[in-house]
Symmetry: C2
Subunit: 348 residues, 2 copies
């Protein structure tokens, strides 16, 4: 169990100075070919790798990007990260992920842990609890201390920073329109509580589509759930609430769900009730992942191009990181990534 070898040790072994070793390893012109060879051979033998911590301290940059996401299971986040990594790696950055588990405290804690030297900037999607509490002080502080943040998907107007969002409103509107075109008259929506920005945008898109087609919206058909799937109990409650939606609205012939899982549960409940999809009821979910594809029947979804979202976020962050230090404070960009509807078997 030998400790990692350092420049100092190499220097001592080879009886040269530390700086000579340092220079030799970087093939400096100043050093003789002989010494370079000797040093590099020794370094290779002992598998020398510069200590990143020391480098970070010296350079005041880590070449690392911190990503904070609320949950890990969603295919959406997985793909966002893939996009981030693609761009980050291309520019010589590494990616570190931390989870908030939809909790405000964990979000704050994890940001503090990373902000203190571990990374150069954040890409994050806000936790539900934070959105509910409307407490954004940790974002402000981080930004004030010179560490840039890029928010994606779940963003918030109160904070000035670069953002990457999806056209939630239009995406939802288009989806609902497809169901209306397919003949649905009584379309229900399973969405999140309003404090989740994307949830309320999608709800509005749904309402707008109805209005445009001259359909009067009914409160009965709008289900705003607290979607905690973290515990057995929560997930049961969710299930039961969706069952009630069906039981209270026997005339319902379409369901628009703001995420994949809600849609899946809706289909399960429909199946229990003997309702045929898509003949008697059409279903569309937001977010296109594996779940939708292999559901029975396969689910029509609003595809979010998660990977693109990740790529854009990484571009924005790196651009800011590499910009002439603190040149201009302002000029925050918001990039909108368009959605597409992917039609499968749950719509006509």
């Amino acid at each position: 169990m030998k400790r990692k070898i350092t420049l100092k040790q190499i220097a001592r072994e080879l009886d040269v100075s530390i700086s000579t070793v340092s220079k030799a390893l970087r093939n400096s012109e100043e050093i003789s070919a002989d010494t370079i060879e000797k040093v590099q051979a020794f370094a290779k033998l002992y598998n020398y790798k510069p200590n990143n911590i020391a480098l970070s301290l010296k350079n005041r940059r880590t070449k690392k990007i911190g990503v904070i996401i609320p949950e890990i299971v969603h295919h959406f986040f997985s793909n966002v990260i893939k996009g981030i990594e693609k761009v980050a790696n291309k520019h010589g950055y590494n990616v570190i992920v931390a989870l908030s588990n939809e909790s405000f405290d964990k979000e704050v804690l994890n940001m503090e842990m990373l902000a203190n030297g571990s990374i150069d900037g954040f890409i994050l999607s806000i936790s539900k609890e934070t959105l509910m509490l409307k407490d954004y002080h940790h974002f402000r502080e981080t930004i004030n201390q010179g560490m840039p943040i890029v928010m994606f998907d779940r963003v918030v107007n109160e904070i000035n920073c670069d953002k990457v969002i999806v056209d939630d409103f239009d995406g939802a509107k288009n989806a609902v329109k497809i169901m209306i075109d397919g003949g649905s008259k009584h379309i229900g929506i399973i969405t999140t509580k309003d404090y989740v920005s994307v949830g309320s945008l999608r709800t509005n898109g749904y309402l707008s589509a109805l209005q445009l087609s001259g359909i009067t919206a009914s409160d009965e058909l709008v289900l705003k759930v607290e979607d905690g799937l973290d515990t057995e109990e929560n997930s049961d409650k969710l299930y039961k609430t969706i069952q009630s939606l069906f039981d209270n609205n026997p005339q319902m012939d379409g369901v628009f769900a703001v995420n994949e899982l809600f849609a899946l549960i809706a289909m399960k409940v429909a199946h229990e009730r003997g309702i045929k999809i898509p003949e008697q009821m059409q279903v569309i979910g937001f977010t296109n992942g594996v779940l939708s594809k292999y559901a029975t029947p396969s689910l029509t979804t609003v595809s979010q191009h998660a990977q693109q979202i990740g790529e854009q976020s990484a571009y924005l962050l790196i651009e800011r990181l590499e910009k002439d230090e603190d040149l201009e404070e302002d000029g925050w960009k918001t990039v909108i990534v368009k959605t597409d509807v992917v039609e499968r078997d749950s719509t006509k």
Copy 2:
């Protein structure tokens, strides 16, 4: 955009020495109440936080645990991480996640990035490509340099380290036995290629269960797939292969799948073929997640107690980290976490 404030700056502003500031902030007995108050007030005002990088360099420890997982979507990994965080946080450690995306290169890269000072130890599950290549040099090097590794789920005998595994063999055996008891005579298995250790263990459990019940195993009924769901193309291929399994074995009346998604796809294909579940065919999947619960019909699964796996892993790692430096080299532990079968509607 003010940089983060440092001890040095506080010292200069307050016209005291750096060490006085440092001590004052830690409420040292040596410092007068006056000074302590003055310094702390100033620090608070400017929101002073010690620089973790500097601390790490000094202390030669980061109080961070690095977790490397092959994929992020699986509910299984999500819960493992939850377990790790629970124990880690209790012991004052933070958790950093990196993804290998089932790629050898990314696994190596990410380990190198983290091993060089960012963390104190690893908890990881080996990527498929690594298992296939059987190239474990990066694990050996990491361990040799004094950084402990705990492997979970996908482990490998060739490396000496602490491990946390599941009773894959018995879990599979029990699951298949349940199907046999339920009347299935021709049970198929959808598993991974043999290089994935857990896949082959589960396959053996399946074979053992058949043998015990006097059923002759048939090669036709064993499907070993390359499960890349990363691209559209791969996921299509997977789907088609599973369809062939059904078409080549019309007599098949049971399917045991080594993960949730394989089971889901099998159910979808069965549905396409008009096969009723569980009446005409029983299905069981390994890994118990949300998917299984909300599938139609809900899926009987082998539950892996992912969170426990995470907790155990964290315990093992922290124990080793806090142990008297390099006291004893040996005595690697392997903890086995038992599985349970959760019966739902896809079995009789």
